[in-house]
């Protein structure tokens, strides 16, 4: 079996896109009695197990074509050593 490495893809909302879920989470944090949190932006993170044949360009395409919706989201790819 070929050895695989881990890749993390972080997807977050673009600046200026309203995030109703993040706002609700902000209120929930407040409700727990914590103060000082002025905003929360909710995103998601994907962990991919990939073998050596998977190029950065291919990862980029996976992220922009499927994992993120480029109308409202940005992504960042991180190869985990």
């Amino acid at each position: 079996m070929p050895s695989t490495t881990k890749v993390r893809v972080f997807v977050s909302l673009k600046n200026g896109v309203l995030d109703p879920q993040g706002r609700a989470i902000t209120h929930a944090i407040e409700g727990l009695g914590f103060s000082g949190v002025t905003d929360v932006r909710a995103g998601r993170m994907f962990e991919l197990e990939v073998d050596a044949s998977v190029t950065d360009a291919a990862l980029d395409e996976m992220a922009s074509k499927l994992l993120a919706n480029m109308v409202i989201e940005n992504y960042r790819i991180e190869r985990v050593a």
Binding site: L18, P20, Q21, N69, V71
Partner: protein
């Protein structure tokens, strides 16, 4: 020639039968039921409907998985050839995710699932889907969605409005949609996506019949074409 239509069923679609019944009753002809795993559509279709529901349990984003299913390649090809395509609710989400319509449907601004009858204003009456309505007509159609908050960048919204591609607007606060957009058309006017469910308001027993004219328009446009 008989009117030929298809209703696509994805895993998790739940308005596919209602859609098929609405087409049967208003448009008549032959309604094919097509499973998402098929690679090809029946020959010679006039009209394709993507129904409401929760395809793939809304995994990743609403409509995102369905938009990448095998049948959608055939639907995109058909739409590009000019076949009329209607996406309702989850079907609208599939259309934006597949790139047939611009923008995206985000979580409702109020976070809550909205399930009720809403007032709409007809914003275009020249498309095949809307020709049986009057410009500015107030109609009532039910909605039932969690992710109906239409978003696109300002340039896209300006273009949609400038080209008369906003088909319907909400006449009341529903989900936070940009410029109250409830339904949009593609450039060719042969693809319509909308969050409200016209197929749920086609006979008096439903509580209203304002959805009926949409299906009448679809069949009339095709007969005349």
């Amino acid at each position: 020639m008989a009117f030929r239509s298809a209703v696509i069923t994805f895993p998790g679609s739940n308005c596919d039968r209602d859609m098929a019944v609405a087409i049967e009753q208003v448009c008549g002809g032959e309604v094919h039921r097509v499973w998402h795993g098929e690679a090809a559509l029946p020959e010679g279709l006039d009209f394709i409907a993507l129904p409401g529901g929760f395809s793939y349990g809304d995994y990743l984003r609403s409509g995102a998985m369905a938009a990448r299913s095998p049948i959608m390649r055939a639907v995109v090809d058909a739409a590009n050839r000019g076949v009329k395509v209607l996406g309702v609710c989850n079907g609208f989400q599939v259309l934006t995710e597949s790139g047939l319509l611009p923008g995206v449907l985000m979580r409702n601004a109020g976070i809550r699932f909205v399930c009720r009858e809403v007032g709409l204003t007809v914003a275009n009456n020249t498309s095949v889907f809307t020709q049986r309505y009057f410009m500015g007509q107030k109609i009532t159609i039910p909605v039932a969605h969690h992710d109906g908050n239409y978003f696109a960048d300002a340039d896209t919204l300006d273009r949609l409005e400038g080209e008369g591609r906003v088909a319907f607007r909400y006449a009341e606060a529903v989900n936070g949609s940009a410029r109250d957009i409830a339904g949009v058309l593609n450039e060719g006017g042969n693809v319509l996506g909308m969050m409200p469910h016209p197929e749920r308001f086609i006979e008096a027993a439903h509580g209203g019949i304002d959805g009926r004219a949409l299906f009448e328009g679809v069949v009339r446009g095709l007969v005349e074409a």
